[in-house]
Symmetry: C2
Subunit: 360 residues, 2 copies
């Protein structure tokens, strides 16, 4: 194994310190924990929005901490749930008195530890609501999970719930819009290669030189099918059809799409995938309101991608295009010149939330 690390026992700790060294004015680390929060948390007169999960999926989740998205995130060890104690410290640090929404990816450890933490926080007088994200259409009841797994669609939950909280929504309202995303989003992934965890130092699973795995999870959990390598177009068709079959969209439905890299996939290949994805959607009469391409929820050094499709109505559009300012995703209203009002929606790496520009 070759990795840019020191000791595998220290990698999460050093990563978190490295994030603070990169964003000292945005983030702070709760002492003696693996929890990062906004520097100004808790934010007065705002519902807190928090999440957490195993490390190795960066920029998920700490990259989405900031104005208009998350107030904080707990980082477990690589591919391991944070402890209940850390979740509880996270919730407390992000409660300004208006309650906290916990966004939980559906893995047994995360769900269990978050639930314990919520019981503790509620005993201390914090109102907590939850949204459990289970957008992976590939499998039910996989390794680590009862029901479906939570994967890349989670970041749209962060965005919508974060926007609702930022505009002053109540805990129930913030929870409702988060759940609305969950009810309307589906994701399907695939891998060309396994990831290698720092601790284990060898591939989590074996794939032949001419094999790919469809329906893979973000920890290398088994998918639906192991098959011979196919062309990018064929792979895009497989993933897209699986998601569309699950979503059962109405006619002329507007959607947000995400072509997500698993960590080691060149951007070049993600754009090749998005080209075909948009072609398929257009042929099916599905209207892409926004197309995102980039590394949003990764699996260490896995090569592969996932496709996420989320049906959006006017409410979700307005939440997704609301201002946000985080290291990994930003959406901004800009007024560059007095004569023109330019709506610019920006985000990370090779992506954005919408690109419509209009002038008056």
């Amino acid at each position: 194994m070759k990795k840019l690390i020191n000791d595998s026992d220290d990698v999460v700790d050093e990563m978190l310190d490295g994030m603070i060294a990169t964003y000292p004015d945005r983030l702070r680390r709760l002492p003696e924990t693996q929890v990062l929060v906004r520097r100004d948390a808790p934010v007065d007169r705002k519902v807190g929005v928090v999440t957490g999960g195993g490390s190795g999926h960066e920029p998920t989740h700490a990259g989405y901490i900031g104005d208009g998205m998350l107030d904080g995130a707990a980082a477990g060890d690589v591919f391991s749930s944070p402890t209940a104690d850390e979740f509880e410290e996270l919730i407390s640090a992000c409660d300004a008195g208006d309650g906290v929404l916990a966004i939980i990816k559906n893995y047994e450890g995360d769900v269990m530890n978050f639930e314990t933490a919520i019981d503790l926080a509620e005993m201390e007088g914090t109102d907590v609501a939850t949204v459990v994200v289970d957008d992976d259409v590939a499998v039910e009841d996989s390794l680590y999970t009862s029901g479906r797994r939570g994967v890349c669609g989670t970041i749209l939950v962060h965005k919508a719930a974060g926007a609702k909280a930022a505009e002053g929504g109540t805990l129930a309202e913030v929870q409702r819009v988060g759940q609305k995303v969950v009810n309307n989003v589906g994701t399907m992934g695939m891998a060309l290669t396994s990831c290698v965890t720092p601790e284990k130092g060898e591939p989590t699973f074996e794939l032949g030189d001419d094999e790919i795995e469809l329906g893979i999870g973000i920890h290398g959990e088994p998918g639906t099918e192991r098959t011979q390598i196919m062309s990018a177009d064929e792979i895009t068709e497989e993933l897209t059809e699986s998601v569309l079959d699950d979503l059962e969209l109405g006619e002329d439905q507007d959607v947000v799409t995400i072509v997500n890299g698993m960590g080691a996939t060149p951007q070049m290949e993600l754009f090749v995938i998005n080209r075909k994805l948009q072609e398929i959607l257009e042929a099916r009469g599905v209207e892409t309101w926004d197309a995102m391409v980039g590394d949003y929820m990764t699996s260490l050094d896995m090569e592969g991608c996932s496709i996420t499709i989320c049906a959006v109505d006017d409410e979700l559009k307005s939440l997704l295009e609301a201002s946000a300012d985080t290291p990994a995703l930003a959406v901004q209203w800009v007024m560059p010149a007095p004569r023109s009002l330019l709506l610019s929606r920006i985000s990370p790496s090779v992506s954005k939330l919408s690109a419509t520009t209009w002038q008056n």
Copy 2:
């Protein structure tokens, strides 16, 4: 070889169409070329800022097209220079009558083809100035290059020159600030693994299971030293010392730093590197004005990283923090509330240009 592509002959063409499918309101493709430009190019009363080079380094360069940075970029085939004809079409499409700055990474093919294109454009009446970027401190006269290679420091040239053009600078002024970055920036890279080009389908070079290459180029060109794998901290020291030796910074010099991923490096590892980089700089009395971490100039699926350090004075700071709005890097002034003026500098993936926030 397993890649998410269709035919290796079509990969650049399909990538460019995929970029247009992702950013239809930002970018357009010049017909029958591999040239992407701003949708509104040429921009009236503004010097055009253009660049180009081989594909395989995404988001370099097309990801930096937009307000405050590039007006357009020519994409060659993978690791190959664009043709002189394509460079000439690029220059013409971005000239609104005030001239065009061509930013050229120092590779023989790029320099030669750009020079031919400039001769052609000047015959058509376009004023063209150039900046040749050669920030790689590793080697002189390497494969493809006389002198030093142009690598990740190039994006700071895009940013500074683009900002100067956006504020109405003359061609000479835009050229001057671009050159100022070149005079003050150094980069050193390393690889854990080789990249694999779609065409060749196998590693560009061989590295043993316990070997790394220091001073690697972004096309897998040989570096300065092949050595046993070291810890992340040791690697960071090697890279940082090489750059600092070259730059010979004055006391209390302010710098911008970039920890750049080569394409297949998990963000986790880049943050581990940045943690150590900032520690070293602090111990040396160098002041980090801004730390950036992310994939800015990649080498397909190479695992590894580079460290860029750029000395910045007040002029460069003001250009680097000026507004920009591109797919891969954005810097925004935001007014979130009437009482506060918040300066927010945002950029791609896991990075930003500065994170200072102040309120009044």
